[in-house]
């Protein structure tokens, strides 16, 4: 009997495709071709001559690259199978990727960028032929200035961490311009700020001082003041932090930094909970960055493309990177980096397609809509917090009993102490239900962590579905622990072994490296060379 339609159990039954798919290089069949390139027409070769002869010897391959030879349809099947083996955006309830701010990227915005003027945009086109792209970029700069309260904006940074790098590069240039570059060699951050702040500062040559939270989980103001000195170049903080806790003393942090001549840099990669509610400049910050691919809906994941908006105060505007777009009459013109600029941090104007997506998203919502989006993100998160902390064994350390902003770093510590099952094992079992979650940045300050962020995009029903799966796995940990320990059961892949990924002698990020390290093969062209 096929009717009436059977009710669906909760949590939903799910099974990922399992294709046992070879690596693309293993699909090689000698002589197969994806595209049969037509032979050169008579007379052409004679007219053109040997096109390769003009290449300098250093640029010539002595042997062709060892690329796999595969027919077109087999290539298509290969990638479709791989796509079926992933838990991707637009498929599952993606609230487990906390701090990543996974939200719906409206498909209509993808249609908007499918015009040749954008798809085929080139950074070296004449100004006259790119007035539309320049106008949208300029307009989004004004919107971001309004959202942050800052004076000037650039989208040149091609990613979130790249944006943080731009922040510290401008701060470094600022102090150097005042003759304090040598003296100010320390940057202060907090353990719950995104680690890219510490990483970028360190890469820029600074000593990094990390502040731990106080007993309530708030950034420790007294510790920060103890760390400040005339050697401090900047504080670089995230707020709300990865815990979802908003630093209520943020103005005092900024003021204390300014009092010793340091600058204040605000990592607003994820500003999903504060749009239209607080502004970086109003708290006194000198520089901040947003990720267009988080808060402003541009798609992300799998390493890109991404885009950051760097916004700065008037004092820091001369240090902005890259070309600047200037409104001139009815049109727009481009000025090269100014004399104080840190120069280029990426080619061209940044990821213009993301600029257009973010512009479309903001214009569709309007000022009121942005604030409403943030309010819903916060409401969703606090509903999720309420539901998750009802699951026996789950908790939300720090600031007990208080509300959070847009995300929460939870802990399975109680469940772990009772069952010995780790958060990572629970996360793997969640994939059997078509979900996943991310644990935490390193180090695991919150024990047995998992970080959830529902954003404004998920409905109550979807949040409930996610929580039901969490509760079911928690029950299994107590009653059927072997089911969790041996998970996944309905998934493509079993377990990854990090030892291989952490050991330079064993990691292999290319096929050549894999053949060399595991089978002692020397690539043909290396031999020839």
């Amino acid at each position: 009997m096929s009717l009436p339609v059977a009710p669906k159990p909760s949590p939903r039954r799910f099974h990922q495709a399992q294709w046992d798919e070879p690596i693309v290089f293993e699909l090689h069949r000698s002589g197969e071709r994806g595209i049969a390139v037509p032979p050169v027409e008579p007379g052409v070769r004679e007219a053109v001559g040997d096109v390769v002869a003009a290449l300098p010897a250093a640029l010539r391959r002595p042997a062709p690259p060892q690329l796999p030879e595969i027919g077109q349809m087999r290539v298509l099947k290969h990638y479709l199978r791989l796509s079926q083996e992933t838990l991707g955006s637009d498929v599952n309830v993606d609230i487990g990727q906390g701090t990543c701010t996974i939200k719906y990227s409206p498909k209509v915005n993808d249609q908007l960028i499918e015009v040749p003027q954008l798809r085929e945009l080139h950074p070296h086109q004449s100004e006259a032929s790119v007035q539309g792209a320049l106008e949208i970029t300029w307009r989004l700069e004004q919107l971001m200035a309004e959202i942050s309260g800052m004076h000037a904006v650039t989208f040149q940074s091609p990613g979130g961490s790249a944006g943080i790098w731009t922040n510290i590069a401008m701060i470094r240039a600022y102090h150097a311009s005042r003759g304090e570059g040598e003296q100010r060699d320390e940057v202060i951050t907090t353990i719950f700020s995104h680690p890219s702040n510490a990483a970028a500062a360190k890469e820029a040559g600074y000593k990094v001082i990390t502040i731990y939270p106080d007993a309530d989980g708030y950034p420790d103001l007294a510790a920060m003041k103890a760390a400040l000195s005339d050697r401090t170049a900047a504080i670089m903080v995230t707020n709300p932090e990865d815990t979802g806790i908003y630093n209520p003393a943020i103005k005092e942090w900024v003021d204390a930094a300014h009092a010793v001549g340091a600058l204040a840099s605000y990592d607003q990669a994820n500003a999903s909970g504060i749009l239209g509610i607080t502004r970086a400049r109003d708290a006194g910050f000198d520089v901040c960055q947003f990720n267009l691919h988080k808060t402003f809906s541009a798609p992300h994941g799998c390493g890109g493309p991404a885009a950051a908006a760097n916004a700065v105060s008037e004092a820091l505007a001369p240090f902005l990177p890259g070309p600047r777009i200037v409104r001139a009459g009815d049109g727009y013109t481009v000025h090269g980096p100014g004399p104080s600029s840190i120069g280029h941090v990426a080619p061209g104007f940044g990821v213009v397609l993301h600029v257009v997506r973010a512009y479309a998203w903001i214009m569709a919502l309007g000022a009121e809509g942005l604030r409403t989006a943030s309010e819903i993100a916060v409401l969703n998160n606090n509903y999720l917090l309420h539901e998750v902390t009802r699951i026996p064994g789950a908790s939300a350390p720090y600031a007990t009993g208080r509300r959070r902003i847009e995300q929460v770093r939870y802990s399975w510590q109680e469940l772990f102490e009772e069952t010995g099952i780790t958060s990572e094992e629970i996360g793997v079992r969640m994939s059997d239900f078509g979900f996943h979650y991310w644990t935490s940045h390193h180090p695991y300050v919150v024990p047995q962590p998992f970080t959830l962020e529902p954003t404004e995009c998920y409905s109550k029903a979807e949040i409930d579905e996610y929580v039901a799966a969490l509760a079911e796995v928690a029950r299994e940990c107590r009653e059927e622990p072997d089911v969790v320990r041996t998970a996944p059961h309905n998934q493509t892949v079993h377990h990854t072994h990090h030892d291989d990924l952490d050991d330079p002698a064993r990691w292999a990020i290319t096929w050549r490296a894999y053949r060399r390290k595991y089978f002692g093969e020397t690539p043909v062209d290396d031999v020839a060379a």
Binding site: I191, Y206, A226, T419, G420, H497
Partner: protein, 390 residues
């Protein structure tokens, strides 16, 4: 292969209201007061987790209450390689551990407290030819040493994962208190050795940021940063602990893991120095003490490094310390402050506040330091706080 050694009298003094279970007299006293060891039951709690993942696995162990009973109760297969005289004594634990290692054990689970950990460390000193790791199933009264899992089930989880594939190990301190002192409300744990404890490193499916290749790599990074601060002509008083042993290795000098050594211009000028010898060295020129976080409770001074006394700290002047530790040591304090207890309130107060802990080249963490009321924070009732998740 997995092994289990239970100290069947561990923890017997706890329920009986005694501050430990060391010594035959105390054990008899505890038995008279109705004290029961919980080590046996906790060992089988841990092994049940192993049994769920590896049904029917064989466990090397000692006869009867020293492990065999717990293995059977968990539904696993005991292979008895040691039989103790009754009643058991410390020497039995050491002999049992040697026996299971001899029989091929690569991970020794032991149920007990700090006293048991000492006996296990003794059995693994000098280290056997093949590396052997050890992990405590928390069952004792005193557990100052960060060699215990946070719960029996957590210990079982580590053991089950170990049977899938060996985990990286990290040297942790074995601390123990003289219980006679403890019963007189004086707490001065000594450092008795180091144990290689397995670490369950992150096996995340989504790596947004690289984790250090292992805790040992983090220790090396911290130690390297400390050595980069060393200046010519300055005497460095290297305290005990694994991080400072690594400092010695990086300097290419032989230091003692448990004592205080003095290094000057890349040479060891004093080994296992006493307080008097340290004062003598300090009188010869500028000097600094280099210390790490000792044990699970976060002591910088006063535990395991009592040679670095209040008098020594005073003699070092206004900026006496370089504190070095991998970040994980701070994380493992779960928000509790670092502690200094030199016995001199004035010296302790001068060190209280915030200290810069060198965690790597170019990175420090600012962390609170407090001087506890004498003995208060190390009362055995609080010893549970010292347990570490591994």
């Amino acid at each position: 292969m997995l092994a289990l050694v239970v100290n069947p009298i561990a923890g017997v003094g706890g329920p009986a209201g005694l501050a430990g279970s060391d010594g035959a007299d105390v054990q008899a006293d505890a038995a008279a007061r109705g004290g029961l060891s919980r080590a046996d039951a906790r060992a089988s709690d841990a092994l049940r987790v192993v049994a769920a993942a590896h049904p029917g696995a064989t466990v090397l162990t000692a006869a009867g209450a020293m492990g065999e009973d717990a293995v059977r109760r968990a539904g696993l297969e005991p292979r008895v390689v040691f039989t103790a005289a009754i009643p058991t004594a410390a020497v039995d634990t050491t002999a049992a551990v040697r026996a299971v290692v001899e029989a091929g054990a690569r991970l020794v689970l032991f149920a007990g407290g700090d006293g048991t950990a000492r006996d296990v460390a003794a059995a693994l000193t000098p280290p056997p030819a093949r590396p052997v790791a050890a992990l405590g199933i928390p069952s004792g009264v005193k557990m100052y040493s960060p060699v215990f899992a946070i719960s029996p089930a957590a210990a079982g989880g580590v053991a089950a994962a170990w049977l899938d594939e060996p985990l990286p190990v990290h040297e942790q301190e074995v601390l123990d208190v003289d219980e006679a002192q403890l019963r007189r409300a004086r707490v001065e744990p000594q450092l008795f050795g180091m144990l290689p404890v397995p670490q369950r490193a992150g096996r995340t499916q989504a790596r947004k940021s690289p984790t250090p290749a292992g805790e040992h790599a983090a220790v090396i990074a911290a130690a390297r940063a400390a050595t980069s601060l060393f200046r010519p002509g300055v005497r460095y008083l290297l305290g005990p602990g694994g991080t400072l042993a690594e400092v010695g290795r990086l300097l290419g000098v032989a230091t003692t893991a448990l004592g205080v050594d003095v290094v000057l211009d890349g040479r060891v000028v004093r080994t296992r120095a006493s307080e008097r010898e340290l004062l003598d060295e300090i009188s010869r020129g500028p000097a600094k003490a280099v210390v790490t976080v000792i044990g699970g409770q976060g002591f910088l001074l006063g535990r395991g490094n009592q040679q670095l006394s209040a008098t020594v700290i005073r003699a070092l002047g206004s900026d006496p310390l370089i504190v070095v530790a991998p970040e994980q040591k701070l994380v493992d304090l779960h928000g509790r402050p670092l502690l200094v207890d030199t016995g001199d309130p004035e010296v302790d107060a001068s060190l209280a506040g915030y200290v810069r802990v060198v965690t790597g080249v170019g990175t420090v963490s600012l962390y609170p330091v407090v001087a506890p009321e004498a003995g208060a924070s190390t009362h055995p009732d609080n010893a549970e706080g010292a347990l570490h998740a591994t």
